[in-house]
Symmetry: D2
Subunit: 332 residues, 4 copies
Amino acid sequence: MQRIALVGAGFIGSVHAAALAAHPDVDLVLVHDVDADRAEAVAARHGSRAATRLEEVFDGEHVDAVLIASSTDTHTEHLRRAADAGVAVLCEKPIDGDLARAVDAVEHVEASGVPAMVGFNRRFDRANVELKRVVDAGEVGEVELVQMTNRGPVSPPLEYVAVSGGQLRDQTVHFFDLTRWLTGQDPVEVHVLGSALADPRITRYGDVDTSVAVLRLPTGAVVQIDSVRRTGYGYDERVEVMGSTGLAQAAAQRTGSVTRFGGTEAVSAGLHAGWFERVQPTYAASLAGFVAALEAGTPVPVTLRDGLRAQAIAEAATVSLRSGRTEEIRYP
Amino acid sequence: MQRIALVGAGFIGSVHAAALAAHPDVDLVLVHDVDADRAEAVAARHGSRAATRLEEVFDGEHVDAVLIASSTDTHTEHLRRAADAGVAVLCEKPIDGDLARAVDAVEHVEASGVPAMVGFNRRFDRANVELKRVVDAGEVGEVELVQMTNRGPVSPPLEYVAVSGGQLRDQTVHFFDLTRWLTGQDPVEVHVLGSALADPRITRYGDVDTSVAVLRLPTGAVVQIDSVRRTGYGYDERVEVMGSTGLAQAAAQRTGSVTRFGGTEAVSAGLHAGWFERVQPTYAASLAGFVAALEAGTPVPVTLRDGLRAQAIAEAATVSLRSGRTEEIRYP
Amino acid sequence: MQRIALVGAGFIGSVHAAALAAHPDVDLVLVHDVDADRAEAVAARHGSRAATRLEEVFDGEHVDAVLIASSTDTHTEHLRRAADAGVAVLCEKPIDGDLARAVDAVEHVEASGVPAMVGFNRRFDRANVELKRVVDAGEVGEVELVQMTNRGPVSPPLEYVAVSGGQLRDQTVHFFDLTRWLTGQDPVEVHVLGSALADPRITRYGDVDTSVAVLRLPTGAVVQIDSVRRTGYGYDERVEVMGSTGLAQAAAQRTGSVTRFGGTEAVSAGLHAGWFERVQPTYAASLAGFVAALEAGTPVPVTLRDGLRAQAIAEAATVSLRSGRTEEIRYP
Amino acid sequence: MQRIALVGAGFIGSVHAAALAAHPDVDLVLVHDVDADRAEAVAARHGSRAATRLEEVFDGEHVDAVLIASSTDTHTEHLRRAADAGVAVLCEKPIDGDLARAVDAVEHVEASGVPAMVGFNRRFDRANVELKRVVDAGEVGEVELVQMTNRGPVSPPLEYVAVSGGQLRDQTVHFFDLTRWLTGQDPVEVHVLGSALADPRITRYGDVDTSVAVLRLPTGAVVQIDSVRRTGYGYDERVEVMGSTGLAQAAAQRTGSVTRFGGTEAVSAGLHAGWFERVQPTYAASLAGFVAALEAGTPVPVTLRDGLRAQAIAEAATVSLRSGRTEEIRYP
């Protein structure tokens, strides 16, 4: 049984809280939030207790692990405290908006030796897990072309855009990570071409909402990722991996199985209303992977270093968006 | 909050226990089973308490409702006790293997006025709910032809066949109920042609494992139901409703979304391994419908009378299997 | 090069004419029709010549084979003349509306030894050919359950209904033949339940337009065939064969490959507008099978005897429709 | 009736010959090829006549139009002769391997006023026609992101690579044209990232076989095109257009409709064996569009100018492949 504290009880924190409460080997011992009422409410819902002070979380005695779901600018501080207290940690992405600061924090945590995982939950999506199995088993041969689509239905509010770091760091980064994980390779260069089509006001922040990133892997294989902030048809996520002998394709997932035929058309269920409906099950799966590693004493399935590397790709991609050049990716 | 007791802690009882424990408005107060250890184990798993004596369940004070998941031959006794104690009841199908005994019990319960529901959980399957919505909205016009497929992967053991009442009463009965629910009509006649192909030993019990039942509705619409006990490809359940203006079709559900293309073929995920994997979510949905009715004071969504009527169709179907004739259905 | 004459230049005759003209090894030497203008028009379209008298067709010198596409009541006469003239024959189904007359004619042709084929063109449909290959290769194990759907969009005119022999002899008979061909078995009994829903006036002729026929094969395998005269969604033909180890399914064929996603729905192409659009390619394929057999001196792929056997099933099915009993099938 | 001569009787010429012969309003009057035997053979197959000298084709009296399917380096000469003779022309792409020479020829033809079409036959593919209809009808809103996949199964021989101009000019150019046609916009810039994975020897010619081209349209919309020379799974062509309100998607086309379910998998038909099997029907459709324009006296559906513009995109794309920069596209 792992005694886990949750830091951050906003929307995504409450999703984690539910996953923690439902896991048979987890005891959700504490919930902390800068908003004490919010912590209280989430704690009450799951029969846990609110911690008003962070010291309770990091006292090194009552907590085995902490799940960091607070605002991004607090992640490195919590990571350092966890490391110092010898508490394992599962941290929402990104580690920090600033890559240098993220690197410093990760080096601190690595030095401490505490198990530390970053929450790239799409690695735990059932379709992606199956793709990974297919690729690893050599069922498509050597990877040559990867294509990923990720398109959400709603443009984020401007205030979010202002602090998000931009579409590539915020949205596409998940797929930079999937690229590394699915292919087992670190991309060497990247080019991005993007536009602000749904909400042109985001150009104030140098951001785009419709972009295509193209990456080259060390083997020469090519990866294409399209990212869209606002569709008219729900949340569309698809991944396909073409290898030298075949193609593995994870289709967009429909929300129902009924088709109506009438006249000359057939109408069937469309896609999920939003990203959350699509990826919700991955939170529990990601947590399960973390807990299983803690219990077995094996490495966590996604390291902080993985987080840094995906972030480094996003940095080079962001440079390319402005330079119009294919940019080399430099990993910390 | 409904205080609910569970009677029967075998396989299906334990499924119900999990649904009861997970329902936010249910307090699983007691678990009873003829095997006290089994009751104890299920109760412990969900933080409930085992009741060694049925009197505890039916004392009329500590329990608002009872979920009957014990062996079929005990259903009518429990139904009568629930009625006498003024306790609402959700009863697994069938009400009784013998239709006359079932009718007596239902009349007793109806006289008492306690809310009583029979567990035809396929009515709560998401695909069937969507089909019902489409039909009720007139999106396919007047119903003219219904086709249902239900095929499970594993022949039941002979000792189960011996007491099951036969394929039509045990397996097909769910689809006799769906027929009534989807069309809003009581079939008037039925014909069945069947064979024992997977396990010919079941002919000792007059049973079949591969059958097609055809029914006629009062409007003249025709319903075809094929039932199979043992497939080589998992659990296959499909329903389609053709009306005067269109067709609504609930496809067989695949277990994954990845397709591999290679050479000249494409390989994708098949069907569920068994009926339970396919219909598992319907247990929670069925319970939710029961609880919502109790809380709102509205009629339960599936009545015991619905149970009797589906059973009456199964009786006529069983006669037809032997007579080779189209048989009239007589409802109690 | 086969010199072939066409007898009958109505709608289906003109379809055959186009197939004959396009076949590289066929010389369409003559076209005959009771309506000389019609024969003239079809002949002119394909650079052929109209024969005003049947004697030209059956003079035994200028014609190697005849394709009979005239009205059903003339088939046996033409078959006999072909046999007497030593001319091979490809005859549209049915051989005759009256089974006894059909038997007499077939015996006459068989005695003559001329190659004679009946036009069950669905055996030449690409999907059915693939199904047959799968079944014959044992890829689904022993056949246990066959399901066929055939549903056309337009009720035939009453004057056609009056002479058609009824839905089972006219429409379902193709699938009685497919049953025999796909399984390699002659069904032993049949039951039909049907209604007149689209056009109740057809009950004057004892006919139905919505029916389910269920057959039992010698192995005990069960076959279900639903036939509908008028849908609201085009022409729907599907066949599936379930065996002891798997299922082979030929899906309904869509008329396009574009899907539109918008809001919460996805809209894609529906089915063919009518049976002809769906099965058109089978006319050329059927002719190709006939010509190949003539050139190789091998048996024709569908014999007149096959025609009689499918017709015998339709006879028993028609009796069952009225008797409500499972009827034994007697083959001539 | 249009009297049309065919110049070029190689593989693609013989495909055009069959389309010409089958068109009801076309008289294939002459076939010319530098190899007189080849011309003779193709002419004989379709009841036409071989022209040994080009003068016969361009005498201005016996021919209304010419279809140019000879080797690329002869196209401009034939175009000029057709213009001078007042003969309409349908010319295979590209107009010339050298863009400047192509521009000169086009200006010459335009000055003459003869109807002249370039054979971008994918515009006549049924799926693309349906996509175009959907986009033009505004059913997906304003175009924001276009994604195209075109992947063939077999690497071309090195001697072809040497003269082909490279993957972008030879293969991707069809999709540069589709981009313009589907969106009604001329792309303003392009970036390409590519590798030689299937056959590294092609790097001798500066070529790639696996590439992603990304284009920006004047509205800011983004287009992504992946092109592959050698897959392990046949010919894969897909196009999708995402607009502000929805997505229209033309799926990869399967070669059959039968699915086999067994164990936990479902096996269905894969893709076409090659590009020709997939696009074959577009040759007749393209010709039909040309002939219809000639007969109606309306503009041809694809102009030589369209050919130049697609070629200009390919030029900029080829520059980008080497520069690593997003390149501006300059149209002649």
